[in-house]
Amino acid sequence: MTTSHSLSTEHLTLGYGDRVVVESLDLAVPAGEITVIVGANACGKSTLLRSLSRLLSPRGGRVVLDGREVHRMPAKELARTLGLLPQSPIAPEGITVLDLVGRGRHPHQGLFSRWRHEDDVAVATALEATRTTELADRAVDELSGGQRQRVWIAMALAQQTDLLLLDEPTTFLDASHQVEVLDLLTDLNRDRGTTIVMVLHDLNLAARYADHLIALADGRLHAAGPPAEVLTEDTVRTVFDLESRIIEDPVSGRPLMLPIGRHHVRARSAAARD
């Protein structure tokens, strides 16, 4: 069902008030892949994601989707191609899972148009894909953190977009739920070819799940490419100001970053560092 879309930025400059957060950024999101954006706190990751999804107007440059400028596209048309899950979305008090997921159908509905069979199918498919069918009649505020995040992803799926942007979908989740959510997103990408762009905090999870890794430092592009090329000791030093060693992840074969602090370092590595 996916046609490949191209999303890219050209000389993109972003900021709030007097502060410039992202400066003259050129990057391209590869279609049909999982792209993960990493960087230190306040380096402009979330700002970039907000701008890709039209939430924030650029100071300069532009965001281009299939040759058209995102900020000039009709809102609903864009929302049928590109979905976004913000970092902390708000659920109205007492709303049920079914109602919440149904709201993802908004861009497909006209002013007074009635609910159609295909809307039901989209909602059911989204519930199934996120394994939240059993929760359908529960109130969202009663759910656990992991369940709630799956429900929000279901809402974004019901939107049936070929591009899905997520701002730190794993924050506030424990280790097993983090993996569960990322596995779910990988399923989406593999099964339906959905292009996924997300911001992640955890470098190692990013390297594990990304097809394409983008490292930002101070609002500029430091490196972009496959994790094996991007996640180097040099990158960690520049982006996070942290000494580290990169080894091969015995589970996935992807790079794994081990931080070197001031303590608990074996004599041998300390010597090696000197």
């Binding site: 929302a79 109205p92 709303i95 993802g104 909602v123």
Partner: protein
């Protein structure tokens, strides 16, 4: 053996999805029918309340007389009492209640806060202060009062909006600035009323708490017209509005043009409030209470606009009837609805305490 199994499993998956689709559709229909049932019940109650208000009073008129008066026939006694006194009053009760309820729930939904209704954040005070000044200080009447009230309510709303604007409007700031403005307008209103040549407590309470006493068609018709025009306008925006409950980012990601929707919604709701206030005063707490009551009856799934309007109409009808006839003194409707607010606040405490929910 393995071949049929392989053939069955994808089929099973398809059947599975179909049954989920059926469940989803059934759940939706169940909700829709409950919604319809509640709305019909409310509508029936409003009609019943309307009929009772027309029939009962100092003298009782049977339904036949009332219908004849409405049809325009001359009925001795009833033509005056029902046609000139009770009918405009009952119509305004429904119109004002519906307008306040609808506009109130619109603001509460948009600002995602059940306490943030237009009577609390100062919009009603804009209309009320202007009306009080127009009548008491400038000795105006009729349409001039309505016009001034509407202009002033819109101006106050615009002022609140402009003052709250800094990198986009944050709901929180908008509410607090509204509270500040309303404190100022309230004191202006009290001052104007206290300087009236003859201190008319009834007239004062109209502009401080709302009243339907002495209502004529001249006051009722503009409010009715406004309701007829603005209700469909707000309903057309209701879907975008319910997306905004999910937060501005999510709503925007779902294709809602947040800032544009917000401006349109505010203008429509403020006009509703202004026309109703110009006719009946800021009937206390109707805008504040209708939305939460409707939500309680319906759940939070669908749009609450029409149900809240119906609840508002019912509230005003009943409160006005009670205020007129239940006590030795005739209380204006706003005093009765305002008094209802106190137990509601206590109820909020008790419920939140028990459920541990959020306000």
């Amino acid at each position: 053996m393995s071949a049929p199994a392989a053939a069955r499993s994808p089929k099973a998956a398809v059947r599975d999805l179909d049954s989920v689709v059926r469940d989803v559709a059934r759940g939706r229909r169940r909700r829709a029918s409950r919604r319809l049932l509640v709305m019909l019940t409310l509508a029936v109650l409003v009609v019943a309340g309307f009929a009772v208000t027309l029939m009962f009073g100092q003298t009782f008129y049977p339904p036949r007389d009332v219908v004849n008066v409405i049809l325009g026939e001359q009925v001795p006694g009833a033509s005056f009492t029902v046609g000139r006194l009770r009918l405009p009053r009952a119509v305004l009760a429904v119109v004002a209640g519906f307008s306040f309820g609808l506009a109130g729930v619109t603001f509460q939904t948009m600002l995602r806060n059940p306490l943030a209704s237009p009577d609390i954040i100062g919009i009603s005070w804009g209309a009320s202060a202007a009306a009080a000044i127009a009548i008491v200080s400038l000795s105006l009447g009729g349409t001039q009062v309505s016009a001034l009230a509407i202009v002033s309510a819109l101006a106050v709303a615009l002022l609140i909006y402009v003052l709250a604007f800094r990198d986009g409007v944050a709901g929180t700031r908008l509410i607090l600035i509204g509270i500040g403005i309303s404190a100022m307008l309230e004191s202006v209103t009290s001052y104007v009323l206290s300087r009236a040549a003859e201190w008319d407590l009834q007239e004062a309470t109209r502009w401080l708490t709302g009243s339907l006493n002495g209502v004529t068609w001249e006051q009722t018709l503009p409010a009715l017209a406004a309701m007829a025009v603005l209700t469909p306008a707000l309903l057309a925006l209701s879907r975008d509005l319910s997306m905004m409950q999910l937060g501005e980012d999510t709503a925007s990601a779902l294709g809602v043009r947040v800032e544009r929707t917000r401006v349109l919604v505010i203008v429509a709701a403020v006009c509703l409030i202004a026309f109703a206030t110009a006719a009946a005063g800021p009937i206390a707490f109707v805008a504040f209470l209708s939305g939460p009551i409707a939500a309680r009856l319906l759940g939070t799934g669908g749009s609450l606009l029409v149900p809240a309007g119906l609840v508002g109409a019912l509230l005003v009808l009943v409160a006005d009837f009670v205020g007129q006839f239940a006590f030795d003194v005739r209380y204006p409707v706003g005093v009765i609805t305002g008094v209802l607010g106190a137990p509601y606040l206590v109820y909020l405490i008790v419920r939140t305490h028990r459920a541990g929910g959020a306000l």
